[in-house]
Amino acid sequence: MAPMTRYVLKRLVLLPALLFLFSVAVFAIVQAPPGDFLTTYVATLASSGSSISAEQVEALRREYGLDRPIWVQYLKWMENLAKGNLGLSLEYQRPNAELIGERLVLTMVLALLSFVFTWVVAIPAGIYSAMHPRSAIDYALTLVNYVGVATPNFMLALVLMWGAFAYLDMSVTGLFSPDFVEAPWSVARVVDLLKHVWLPAVVLGVAGTARLTRVMRANLLDELNKPYVTTARAKGLSEWRLVVRYPARLALNPLVSTIGWYLPALFSGSLIVATVMNLPNIGPLLLRALINQDMYLAGSILLIYCFLTIVGTLISDILLAWLDPRIRFEEGMR
């Protein structure tokens, strides 16, 4: 078997085991706060003046299986998940899959775009900085980078929204124009999405771009001193070609292994920005589900996070092995 195939297979075998561990952990966390959804529900009703009888509460408790031991609840949840049933949201009284579905797609679109923005800007900027260290442009990039890292992204969002509104007379909240918020998917809705999505994508990507530029610059500066660069230069390659072909390629390797963390970091990191910019992505939904102890909704979202994290890590592992033969051979031999 080729080393690469073995390398990928080994990781695929681990996938179900990891998912099982995560599901147990997720369930434990969602169950951890005292009380359950019904206690919160009764309290909410009471505070709004209406009430519910003890029999009704008991009936609901039985219906959702809240009277059974925890491990039975877990097994029931797993059984439903295996059938592709994410359960019902206790709060919204709608299937969780429906609630999560569109928000998940929008979250992924946003994540992908801000990822592309980050890499397309940061890698060339880092390469330029490293090739012209201590030049005026390098200093300027460094300044921009520090400001980028230091600015909280929700603040950047507020400033940009205000700027767009005050000077361009544009409303840039949300991901859709009012006409398209509830509309079914169509070409026009996708176009509308693209018109709105770039600003949040940039806002979410700025800090990451700044960090990535710094890391790329530092990695490449290290690589540029290696003897293989002298060899390539002595061979007669042009400076750009040799930098892109040799040291930049090696400087990228450590960065590729962080791709897997990008999606979950953006999931949890975008909460404040999503609230400020009124983005219909998954962060606010998870927050609400957790506050209301809507456990199957929260559990489903968390489990999807975990799944995406594992898949992301798998993708970066594969990319890394594909880029770096040393990893491919070392791991494949074992």
Binding site: P227, Y228, T231, G236, S238, Y246, R326
Partner: protein, 345 residues
């Protein structure tokens, strides 16, 4: 006498550090004739590697060529001064690798670890295609591959067809150095610069590599500039020797003259410090008095004068001796052989 293929004339390479100016190469001159092996010898830090990088114009900043000429004789026409060409320009890049090739010091780190060695050689072949083959069809991938296999075979690598797909870290030190030699020879350069090619390999492999280089040199008539701190290697390889100290040439000449009739006190001290079979056991090995000065604390006058047993008071510490002919092929920069110059006011 043939026209030299390379003439280095009063070359100066300085490093502009925050701490001060380091004159790594400070007035070096020598010639390389077609098919000749020139040995450049000196202690670490004497500027021999920087001189070689300067010839290819790949001195890293903050180093810079600040003076002198490097005249390279092309196949046709007049010699061109390499120092006048832009280090990043196409004209110089067409010379690097194609006309003047380098065998670097550390074969381990000198290949990219994420590209197969064959790929890196094919790259050189493709890059300079129109120079080693001005006419004819464009080089195909298959042809480049088979040429690389032939190159591997010619430098004595067994199973060449399998080895070209290997990564450098999968090869032994000796094989790696052979692969490096194959790459340097790929475009049939007129000058080969070998920068301590045997420092990183064991003694047995060293002997094999030296034999290989000598055979290849005889076959192709390539001129080799051989840098080493090992006088034994110089004696085996070179016909002409340049002795460097602190960025200057102390003495140069045919290998027999330098070894049997060294003129400069530095060369004499260097030769005396080689262990010999003819001295009684347990004799202390003679060493050169003192140590190499700090790069920022270069002595005035002749750079060797603080360690020189024959220094002339009031002369050597004041003025820098020029390189002057002494014997039939020998030149030395020392006031001992130039009393007239020494007594000038």
């Amino acid at each position: 006498m043939t026209t030299p293929v390379l003439r280095v004339n009063d070359l100066r390479v300085h490093f502009f550090l925050d701490e001060g100016l380091v004159r790594a190469v400070d007035g070096v001159s020598f010639e390389v004739h077609p098919g000749q092996v020139v040995g450049i010898v000196g202690e670490s830090g004497c500027g021999k590697s920087v001189t070689m990088k300067a010839i290819l114009q790949i001195v890293e900043p903050p180093g810079r060529i600040v003076g002198g000429q490097i005249l390279f004789q092309k196949d046709s026409g007049a010699a061109i001064d390499l120092t006048r060409l832009s280090p990043k320009g196409a004209e110089l890049r067409a010379i690097r690798g194609a006309e003047i090739a380098l065998i670097p010091q550390e074969p381990m780190a000198a290949f990219s670890p994420v590209h197969s060695v064959g790929e890196q050689i094919i790259e050189a072949l493709t890059l300079h295609e129109r120079q080693w083959r001005p006419r004819g069809p464009r080089l195909s991938r298959a042809e480049a591959r088979s040429m690389t296999v032939d190159l591997f075979r010619s430098v004595g690598i067994s199973m060449p067809a399998e080895r070209i797909d290997a990564y450098s870290w999968q090869l032994s030190g000796g094989l790696r150095q052979r692969a490096m030699i194959a790459m340097a020879l790929s475009c049939r350069p007129r000058i080969l610069i070998a920068d301590e090619p045997t420092t990183a390999v064991d003694v047995t492999t060293q002997a094999q590599i030296l034999n290989l280089l000598r055979d290849l040199q005889r076959q192709h008539g390539t001129a080799i500039v051989f840098i080493t701190h090992d006088l034994g290697v110089i004696a085996q390889m070179a016909r002409y020797v340049v002795v460097m100290y602190l960025g200057r040439v102390m003495e140069q000449g045919a290998v027999e003259e330098i070894f049997h009739a060294p003129k400069h006190p530095y060369t004499r001290a260097l030769l005396k410090s080689i262990p010999s079979m003819n001295v009684p056991p347990r004799t202390l090995l003679p060493t050169i008095a003192g140590s190499i000065p700090h790069p920022l604390g270069r002595p005035r006058g002749c750079p060797f004068h603080p360690r020189c047993p024959d220094a002339i008071p009031g002369v050597c510490a004041e003025r820098v001796p020029a390189l002057r002919p002494i014997g039939s092929t020998q030149l030395a920069s020392c006031f001992l052989y130039n009393r007239d110059e020494a007594s000038e006011p």
